[in-house]
Symmetry: D2
Subunit: 344 residues, 4 copies
């Protein structure tokens, strides 16, 4: 069976590296093109550690260089703002794109402007993009030309919240999202604030008063849940490489039924696992896996703490991108994706 | 000037170790007695690393062994439940006690029973204890015979909340306390769940649906704030040794004025620091210091995120105990206490 | 094609967990039996985090319980000393065994007694075991009934040293092995010295003056290299979960030729990678992979520093066990084994 | 008693920060001047976390700005190569200098050129500098105008080695120095290789084949020990903030007597501690302390492993600088220096 040829634009960061790792072992995709921006011209092995010799010898071309003719899918792992232009150019070649940046995650130019403080350069493309939260976008992916891969924070809160909103058990209070992320979510830029000695043995919040993922959360909560709700989102960065734990402090009714609601929605999902009653998830249980683990602890009838854990580089980025790609090309959705974590 | 003779009962844990470190450099206290339970009979240096030769050579006596006659102050760093009996016995000798366990943190036997699920063995002693949140208990400490040293989680949330409640700017909604703690807060017990490989590269919540510190929080919030409020408390454990970050998701009115309220209350406090507008605290900025750093980010007029950071072993345990001891004996409150963190 | 039925005895530790992860995704083995000692009777999901529902629901039977009739291969991940009895019993059933303990790593009872301070309970079995350093034992594995899986430290030093000894370029000086290991190598026992707060932010040596792996190193260096050499081995434990870096301080002749010697030996090996000149390996580059990365830095003609990195749970334990199993059963040696690391 | 006025040039790095912390609590020095290079003009609190309000409000002037007239001592914590010019200028003002860079650690311009690959810009100053390994330089410090503060790696190996060389128990073989350092030793530069995700969960060697500290080690080993010996030095970087463990693989004679030799040399030293027989040091036991802990494990009569631990920012940099300053100004050598570690 012929493999599907795929390219990675933006191969030198943490998300790019994870895409390489997943595609290298994927039985149905073949990596045919690796591109970077400032590292263009180098060999992959000079920029990323741990590649085997064949991958290490690949040359990183420039992100503006032409794609191979037979390339069918591009994964764009470029910085927010910089991705749009490249994505627009690739789409013109007829190649399908999964964009891991935030550039196509909003349906309206107005929301984009609010979240990112600038006008969208290709507003006409916004409505063509499918927001790729796989479990809820599955039907539309096979025809998608452009998939906007969700942000890690939105993924971690949308998965537990959408079924609850659809079931009508939440009240209208703002959704309090207290999220904790490993450091790889901050990217691979040479900044003092991301140095080992600055993050190690430390925890801090950031992005207040309104992190730009807040708009993404509210837009897709309304879209998939059918009820506009306000989000109060506080992200924190933790001294660990991978993993995201999102604590949702929720109010509503019949909290003891929420576990069943989630179970009914996700019983057959390969990458969403509801923990047994009384168990709470940990990031270590999903690090290295494409899974989202969810635990609930009702406080009383009206209040419930819901906690979800993902690996920010997998279900929060590269893993969900591959999951989307599998659906786009009619493959088994779990194909090439790790289910068990790399523990400890 | 004669030094005040002090003892530590429960010297082999992390809090005991921190008390030793602080008392060894304290200009006005002299450590004359170190006691332990299972490690009784060993030398301190066999149980704790990093002691200098003189401390290392001290023998750990049993916690039931008699105190030296001239001992004026006992720091009890014993497990919850086990402390009460020892504290009661020491009080009979006329020695003053700072109890770092939870055994005397409640004013009524009923609340104790709710929080700890068992009857208090010495209910008549409960009302004699002074809850030692130094900044708010200062007046009553000089005559105290028994000080109940606050828990780390309650300390981290009471300091920012008390002034806000007293100012009447919070509404009646439950207080959402999303707290993150370093692993030393879990103690030095040989449990699989506390092994390096279980906690490293991981984050998880625990203690749900109602951690016992919730009762302590509600009791003293009402006591010092004058308004009964419910607390929804979710603690998390992080892969770092020291440090606690507590995120308070609050609703009320005039959120833009809250910083001034806190500033007015704490402007002259040596160990409470309000961060400049736009700045958020990190645990690394207080680790090794007795300070509590507080930052605020109003979301709009009615909502505000308030974040406090302490070192759970210092302001959250041994440091506040020394601060209380300084006040009890009429010393400068900052005596022997580190102000700057050990950073990085 | 029928799958080969396999069992894990000792499933609740870190090595057992890694075997589960590898076998669960292995295309040719089926995990049919999970046994434990103190955790017998529990479900796998109560003991190990991150399992998917099907694995989590498996019951851990007792290690003395009978194996399924169709079980063809047992992975024994039991403590040193305790493994021998179980292995002997399993061999009598006709089932093949890969023993990950040290119990069958020595060819003579005398060496075993020196290393472990006690008489071997089944001395007649010692000579029947094949020492499974796959790259050098490959020919003998297809007929092996009992494979002694090498220790992590010996694996990390034997791979770079054997070719150099065979080439005759080392002099007779003792081999200085300064090794650094992640904490998972110390196992999953509830000991204070392995608690997060004891190992985090710390580095220490242990096992001196003569760690028991020293005998294993000397025996197999002589066996595979053909020259008896003394080893001076100093292991250290580092604050990280996985990974082992072994620094060899070597003396000999023609140090500039050593890279070529290693390259000639390992050019076609799927799991041994020689780094380009001027590059040194890191544990992060192999963590999550079954690979051994080797770098060299000649100091002058007579002296060379050789550094190897493995993941102690993969090439140092469970990964090499699967590699051996693949060869034992005539499968592709790389089958089911990760090549790229889980980075970062 | 009047305080001695002191300045820090290069206040924005990890060493500068540690100097601020130590001087702020020092009873006899007053910090009167903080200077930086790229951060000049900012307030200290904008560049360093955790300062109290008074320190945070201090303005960082430029390193070329004039010193206050009454400044008696300058701590120069500037990058290697850049320090020399500034130090030369300060010396002309009559102010005394402790230079924490490598620029004045060699006695001859030739050695400097070999180690740093460039001509020394002020060769005539080299012989005026006192190498400030306090325990061995104590007599010459009171008159010193310029003190070259030793490197962290040299400090960690010179302290255990000098007494052994002077006792004549080492043979002439090269000294094998396998050193492991926390990440703060690499400085606070915005480099990808120092990011949290690159160093966390990783260990690697660097600086081969000959790290520039090798020349410093050999020069001062010969100077203080009286015997020229070659050093084979391999440094490694570990995933922790502070701490350095140096493993010395040594050959000689009468190894069982070495502990006594070290004990006789250091019995009265406040900051050198010899561990009891059978004990090995850990970095956690000295992190936050100015102490050097030394442990020995004789392998046989001719061979011995000697391990030393320091905090690279204290005894390896800022702490030893303060220790030197105390001696220069006739103060108690331990004044203002922490003895116990900040553990855990």
């Amino acid at each position: 069976m012929d493999k599907i040829h795929a390219a990675i634009l933006g191969a030198s960061g943490y998300t790019g590296s994870e895409l390489i790792r997943l595609l290298d072992r994927h039985p149905r995709f073949r990596l045919v093109h690796l591109a970077a921006h400032s590292h263009a011209g180098k060999q992959a092995g000079d920029v990323l550690p741990g590649l085997h010799d064949k991958l290490a010898a690949l040359q990183l071309v420039h992100i503006d260089d032409p794609l191979p003719d037979d390339c069918q899918l591009v994964f764009a792992a470029l910085p927010h703002g910089a991705a749009a232009r490249t994505v627009a150019r690739v789409l013109e070649t007829g190649c399908r794109v999964i964009d891991l940046s935030a550039d196509f995650r909003h349906q309206s130019p107005e929301t984009y402007r609010q979240a990112y403080g600038t006008d969208h350069p290709y507003p006409h493309l916004l409505h063509t993009a499918i927001y790729g939260l796989t479990e809820w976008s599955r039907q539309r992916l096979p025809e998608a030309r452009l998939v906007a891969n969700p942000g890690c924070y939105p993924t971690s809160m949308l998965l537990p919240l959408i079924p609850l909103i659809r079931a009508g058990v939440l009240d209208e209070a703002p959704i309090i999202v207290d999220a904790k992320s490993g450091a790889s979510g901050a990217g691979r830029s040479a900044k003092v604030e991301l140095l080992f000695c600055e993050l190690n043995e430390s925890c801090r919040a950031y992005g207040l008063p309104r992190h730009r993922h807040s708009w993404e959360m509210e837009e897709w909560l309304a879209h998939f849940g059918g009820q506009p709700l306000r989000v109060r989102f506080v992200p924190h960065i933790l001294p660990m490489n991978r993993g995201m734990l999102t604590t949702l402090h929720l109010s509503g009714r019949d909290a003891s039924s929420w576990r069943d609601i989630l179970q009914q929605n996700y019983a057959n999902e390969p990458f969403v696992r509801l923990l047994p009653e009384g168990n709470l998830p940990s990031t270590a249980s999903v690090a290295g896996s494409n899974r989202c683990d969810i635990g609930l602890s009702p406080l009383d009838n009206d209040e419930c703490v819901v906690i979800s854990c993902i690996d920010n580089l997998l279900k929060g980025a590269a893993g969900q991108a591959i999951q989307n790609a599998n659906v786009m090309f009619g493959l088994d959705e779990t194909c090439g994706l790790p289910d068990l974590p790399c523990w400890p």
